[in-house]
């Protein structure tokens, strides 16, 4: 397994942003050390590596920090362009489309996610955030049809940028499904995404990284709420 010098990821096991980076490292067949951060007591290494945002994930490559998950993913894709599949397409227009949808996911799904779990003060506010998530997923259903062209993933034959960016939220979606009593990615509403989710979760690079124990995730939610670091 390539490693090209030491690789270390500072993360939190439920973070969609961390999960996507770990999946990409797996796709590229790269060995790395993983360090779980306590968001209520951030390590000196984290604060020193990401003084501006103080957030996870941080990728340390030969001791040098790279921050912001989508930037980290492009870094990995560029440094290890020779190994494993390409995470971003080669064609400039297709790259722009992939970047667009990745940004859309973090903008619309990401803000609905924080709204559904961390920022809502009551069930009404949660429902409003759920409605925003539903709308974003409806749009992404169309995007999947367009981007995949009938192939299994947003990235086509293989998992790509948009897949890992959206896929990072799946562990939380399962927890939210339990809270709201129905599926966010509902086969009746978004059949393509529902099928995509099955395929994505089953992929080697993904298994063990996307959390699949809903009870554990819900318990951890309480920890995060207590820390109050997700506002």
């Amino acid at each position: 397994m390539a490693g090209g010098g030491d690789l270390k990821v500072l993360g939190v096991w439920t973070s969609p942003f961390v999960i996507r980076v770990r999946i990409v490292l797996n796709l590229k067949g790269l060995a790395y050390e993983y360090a779980e951060e306590d968001l209520g007591n951030k390590s000196a290494l984290l604060l020193g590596s990401n003084p501006v945002n103080k957030s996870v994930p941080v990728l340390l490559h030969g001791g040098r920090p790279i921050n912001e998950s989508r930037i980290i993913i492009q870094y990995i894709d560029e440094v290890w362009a020779g190994s494993g599949p390409a995470v971003l397409p080669r064609d400039p227009y297709e790259r722009a489309v992939a970047r667009f949808w990745a940004a859309y996911v973090d903008d619309k799904v990401g803000s609905a996610w924080t709204g559904m779990l961390f920022r809502c003060k009551n069930e009404e506010e949660r429902a409003e955030a759920v409605a925003r998530a539903d709308e974003a997923l409806r749009t992404l259903e169309g995007a999947l049809e367009e981007c995949s062209g009938g192939k299994p993933f947003f990235g086509g034959d293989g998992i790509g940028l948009v897949d890992v960016v959206l896929g990072g939220y799946l562990g939380w979606f399962a927890a939210i499904d339990r809270i709201i009593g129905r599926r966010l990615i509902d086969p009746a509403r978004t059949p393509l995404l529902a099928a995509w989710e099955q395929r994505f979760r089953a992929a080697d690079a993904v298994r063990g990284v996307v959390p699949d124990d809903v009870d554990k995730v819900l318990a951890f939610l309480q920890t995060l709420l207590a820390i109050g670091s997700m506002k």
Partner: protein, 225 residues
Amino acid sequence: MAGEKKGLQLLDFWVSPFGQRCRIALSEKGLPYEYLEQDLGNKSELLLRSNPVHKKIPVLLHDGRPVCESLIIVQYIDEAFPGKDGKPALLPADPYARAQARFWADYVDKKLYDCGTRLWKLKGEAQQQARKEMLEILRTLDGALGDGKFFGGEAFGFADVAIAPFTAWFLTYERHGEFSVEEECPRLVAWAKRCGERESIAKNLTPPEKVYEFICGMKKRFGIE
């Protein structure tokens, strides 16, 4: 049919710093394009068709195909027209340097414009909070620049393109926040002057007084004193 024209078209709004990033990039690369000013109060068919998801400018049309989101557009321009007429790349060759450049562009995207909007729109406690945050953002950028000529070091590049349009907004931030960017962040102001010496920037930034006038007009429309 409009929208399938050959070549480059930019759907934009005159004062938009996001649109200006694209204009600067096109100019740096020496790429001719058709500028299409958009009426944001009455959005055109072309804009709505080209950016149905966000319905926002800027949008770059390349042989009729739309690219949306300013930093995505700038990267597209850099990648689709590599080394055109010997013009250098906006993003550096080294992946670590690229990550740094993307980080600062992303930082400005996440922080600067929204904070600036709160600074001119809000009053009282909320405005004071925005002022505090704006100073922190500007000081962070000043620190990131360090003693470098540009954000990437010796060469003008992606992060500079991403941040330069906001220098036209310093005057507006100063007047609403009652501070001096030059006093607080001398390196940032020196960098802004260096950028302003480049044709791509001198031609494409809105004069600061015009930005201020525009914001005053917006405030009247929103009924803000």
